[in-house]
Symmetry: none
Subunit: 131 residues, 4 copies
DNA sequence: GTGGTCTAGACCACG
DNA sequence: GTGGTCTAGACCACT
């Protein structure tokens, strides 16, 4: 797997896991319909507890990223992730808010900020082309 | 004060405080050199614990946003906030990373994302003009 | 067959099967005395495990909905389903209890609730008239 | 507390807990804004694990029944429970569906069913008057 | 003292 | 073998 965790980070492990999997989907490393490792095997792979993996999976399921079949295991939502709605946009805005506030204080220009975003977007889409 | 806390939020109160003060600086509501309320009075104003305010102030001092004089009290750093360095840019990038990943999954175009950022930047700068 | 399963559902497949067959009987799509597919053929039809179908059939037999003859196969109870007794009424009540509690919390009026039930009753009986 | 669990039941404990709390709200035993016991104390009271209580609380929080303050503890949503929307009505319908199907098979008349519901509604509302 | 997180180990239902 | 549930015990962040 492509999972890469930082056990020293303040960010909870299950949150990191969520982000890593979302990034995997964003980059096309895992395609809709594709299977994810079982809770147990992923936990063993990464060397963490199965409950931690489960917590991440449950969250991703609730957000519509994945489906959890009781017996068959876990797959990326074959219909794709639910598109952005107003609730998501509000949430995104409120997460960007403090980042932009601090950037302004630190004299990061809007242009530089925009370029940084652009760079990240490109990074994801390149991964998509190749895989 | 312009502090606006959400006690239901998952975000710790001291973090919200930090963000609110940084936003106040970004919008020019509080200028470099200007004084901030003392730990005690701010805590009393908002109705939260002394320690919580103190924790926020300590963090802001650490980051160079404010100075804490034992007698004179708290002031916004008169020399302005330290400009962005590579460490800050890395940190900013790592915070944007998961946001952009999810946006891509949810079919938010780079353009829409960029416009959202632009909108937030404008919002801050308008506050600056008027105060 | 008229069986319609949701493999993504949290509801176990054998439970869904039970419900579907009961609904078939309620709507008159399958009449008392009528034969049901064998365990093997139904399993093959739907593409699920033998054991799963068997579990559903055993449950239905236990409840008096169907009879399972070793040779003749499976038939809907020709004498009709056992009528409601106190045990059944208690069970029904305990299943309705949490539904009604939540409905009250969510400001669903007794009238609206009643109309919803009425609508479902009608739905079943219409199926009965036509078949 | 008014919590009453059946440890022999097939129903998971955390689900029973959810139902009991919702019923408490429906009956007005716990009012909007009122505090619920802490995860630990409730777990100790009932004699179950704190994680089980937490799971129930998390679910209730997600459904809008309660608010969880990080430090202050748990309170019933002071703004009341979110009113029924179409999603809830669909869900309610799909839960009533199998109940009504079986009732029809067992020759429970629509009237009898309706009276049973009415009786349950009354039961809840009486609790409300008195408390 | 509160909830949040993580670990560990166990049993069960399902298919 | 899969996820679901429950228990138990530990540490941490927050206030």
């Amino acid at each position: 797997m492509f999972i890469n965790l930082d056990f020293e980070s303040k960010e909870p492990i299950y949150v990191q896991l969520i982000h890593q999997i979302i990034e995997g989907i964003a980059k096309g490393k895992i395609q809709p319909g594709e299977a994810l490792p079982s809770v147990r095997s992923l936990a063993a792979d990464i060397g963490i507890n199965l409950h931690t993996v489960n917590k991440a999976y449950q969250h991703l399921k609730q957000e519509g990223f994945i489906l959890i079949h009781r017996q068959k295991g876990v797959v990326v939502n074959p219909e794709g992730v639910p598109e952005a709605d107003d609730a998501y946009r509000d949430q995104l805005k409120s997460k960007l808010h403090p980042l932009i506030a601090e950037s302004i204080c630190r004299k990061v220009s809007e242009q530089e900020f925009s370029e940084l975003c652009s760079q990240l977007f490109t990074e994801f889409n390149e991964g998509k082309g190749g895989k």
